[in-house]
């Protein structure tokens, strides 16, 4: 992955919330922004994992019964 992810505040947070169609008051933004940073701080630790062609751990069963 190319470089660190920007922190989730200000215009970045505004735009993410707009794209999610989630109305966040200034008070909610003050809470949600750090929470997003916290989760991304964890998820970004997966950046360096070489996954090759590995498939996600999800599946779909085409049977009806």
């Amino acid at each position: 992955m190319a470089g660190p992810r920007p922190g989730c505040s200000g215009p970045t947070l505004d735009e993410l919330a707009r794209m999610a169609r989630l109305d966040l008051t200034p008070e909610r933004k003050a809470v949600a922004g750090p929470a997003v940073d916290l989760v991304y701080g964890l998820v970004d630790q997966l950046d360096s994992v070489d996954l090759g062609d590995l498939a996600p751990a999800t599946a779909f069963d085409a049977r009806w019964e």
């Binding site: 949600a32 929470a35 964890l42 630790q45 997966l46 994992v49 751990a57 999800t58 049977r63």
Partner: protein, 461 residues
């Protein structure tokens, strides 16, 4: 001895032999709830009239020679995440304060078909999104938490307000309350128990399992609740064994893995001492111990939260917009955060889960189960947000409890918590036994061997 003091298997035997009436047992259990639950707060709803009606029906059936099996007439509590027809099912959330389902969850259907008497709905951390269960206290010390999210179920079993309870486990939520409340708790293999009719936290990681006073009791509940269900796409059509059949087989000829890394990396010394003593006890009983290195330990917490957080937000997407103010603050914060994550990051976490699964499969070569602490610490004090380790590092309670639980959810492997001692303050400690896929009988067998050789499960708050 009062009837409420009986373990599930003991009550079942007395009911089968007609030494004990289901009505007598239910009256005793309801009286226990009446006497204690004002202080413990385990129950979101007590189903007194319905329970007495079910007990009377069970009594008549048994008197008529129609005994259904070990759960017939015994008292079971169900986490308030599972639908119960005609009974409020709130997930301990104000957003579902008026929710009265028309149908039962699959597990509730199975329990009722087995003749169990459902005595009430137990509290959960709101929508299972946390490990505190703030409505409920730990029966061993009312100033401490019962763990969570199935904290009501753990507290109810520990305080003997039921013979067994149902919990759900997405990041440890059966095993965490089992460990800190001093009960047995089994998170079965992913896909072993249907989740139909159960509010989801994370479809990829949710499991349903029993909390009980003994390993045998957990086996009896598994016999009833396990099985394939097309309505839950995660379930697998794998034959359901008799979970109690091998419980007396001991641990000779079993090879048990003892982790060199991760599980003991940052742990309360008293907890480590109790768990290592339990491992030694199993070796004394004839098990062969083999050190193992857990694969990819640095990926467990990132993958767990990378999957859980966006899936939880997807489940609550509509309600968050309509009733956002009704969520508790900690849950709402993470639901909002999950809305703002990228799909590719979520899928990356799902791909890492595959990698973790492959690593654990390889690690399990030649071993039957892995032994580990269920948790690195005992029950936190109510209101305590973080543990402070001897090196000065502060770790949030949720991170501490989830980091030793998450491997079981990510791998989907069956994981049993059994009591293995108490710290110097009298707080319970749990030993975790993690087995191969669908090897619930093996982890129960190991747990039963340890339980039989010790008296930890005989102690009560």
């Amino acid at each position: 001895m009062e009837p409420y003091e009986l373990r599930l298997s003991e009550a079942a035997e007395r009911i089968r032999s007609r030494e004990l009436s289901p009505v007598e047992l239910t009256d005793s259990v309801l009286g226990r709830i009446e006497a204690l639950d004002e202080r413990v707060g385990a129950f979101a709803a007590v189903m007194g009239d319905r329970a007495v009606g079910a007990a009377r029906a069970a009594e008549q059936e048994i008197a008529g020679g129609r005994y259904r099996g070990p759960l017939h007439g015994v008292c079971i509590a169900v986490k308030d995440l599972l639908d119960t027809a005609g009974v409020p099912t709130t997930s301990s959330s104000r957003t579902r304060a008026d929710n009265v389902p028309a149908a039962n969850a699959a597990v509730v259907d199975h329990l009722e078909a087995a003749g169990a008497v459902i005595v009430g709905k137990t509290h959960t951390h709101e929508f299972a999104y946390g490990v505190i269960t703030p409505t409920t206290r730990n029966p061993w010390d009312l100033d401490r938490i019962p763990g969570g999210s199935s904290g009501g179920s753990g507290a109810a079993v520990a305080a003997r307000m039921c013979q067994g309870a149902i919990g759900t486990d997405t990041g440890g939520s059966v095993r965490i309350p089992a460990a800190v409340c001093g009960t047995v708790g089994l998170k079965p293999t992913y896909g072993r128990v249907s989740r139909r009719g159960t509010a989801s936290l994370s479809w990829s990681l949710d499991h349903i399992g029993p909390l009980t006073g003994s390993v045998r009791d957990a086996a009896l509940m598994m016999d009833v609740i396990a099985g394939y269900d097309r309505a839950d796409p995660a379930t697998r059509d794998v034959p359901v064994p008799r979970h109690g059949e091998g419980l007396s087989a001991g641990v000779e000829n079993l090879v048990l893995g003892v982790p060199r890394n991760y599980f003991f990396d940052r742990i309360d010394p008293e907890v480590e001492a109790a768990v290592r003593a339990a491992i030694g006890r199993l070796e004394d009983l004839g098990a062969e111990l083999r050190e193992v290195d857990l694969p990819h330990p640095e990926l467990y917490m990132p993958a767990e939260f990378g999957i859980l957080v966006p899936e939880a937000s997807a489940y609550h997407q509509e309600t968050l917009r309509k009733l956002g103010d009704l969520y508790t603050e900690d849950v709402r914060m993470f639901l909002e955060a999950g809305e703002l994550m990228l799909a590719t990051d979520y899928i990356r976490a799902q791909r890492v889960r595959t990698l973790i699964q492959q690593g654990w499969r390889d690690m399990f070569a030649g071993i039957d189960a892995v032994l580990a602490p269920t948790l690195p610490a005992v029950a936190a004090r109510a209101g305590e947000l973080a543990f402070t380790w001897p090196d000065g590092v502060e770790e949030p309670v949720i991170n501490c409890y989830v980091r030793t639980s998450a491997p079981g959810n990510l791998t989907g492997l069956p994981a049993l918590s059994v009591p293995c001692g108490f710290n110097s303050e009298g707080l319970p400690i749990g030993l975790q036994i993690i087995g191969r896929p669908f090897a619930e009988p093996t982890v129960l067998r190991i747990g039963a061997a340890y339980e039989t050789a010790t008296d930890w499960s005989d102690r009560h708050p």
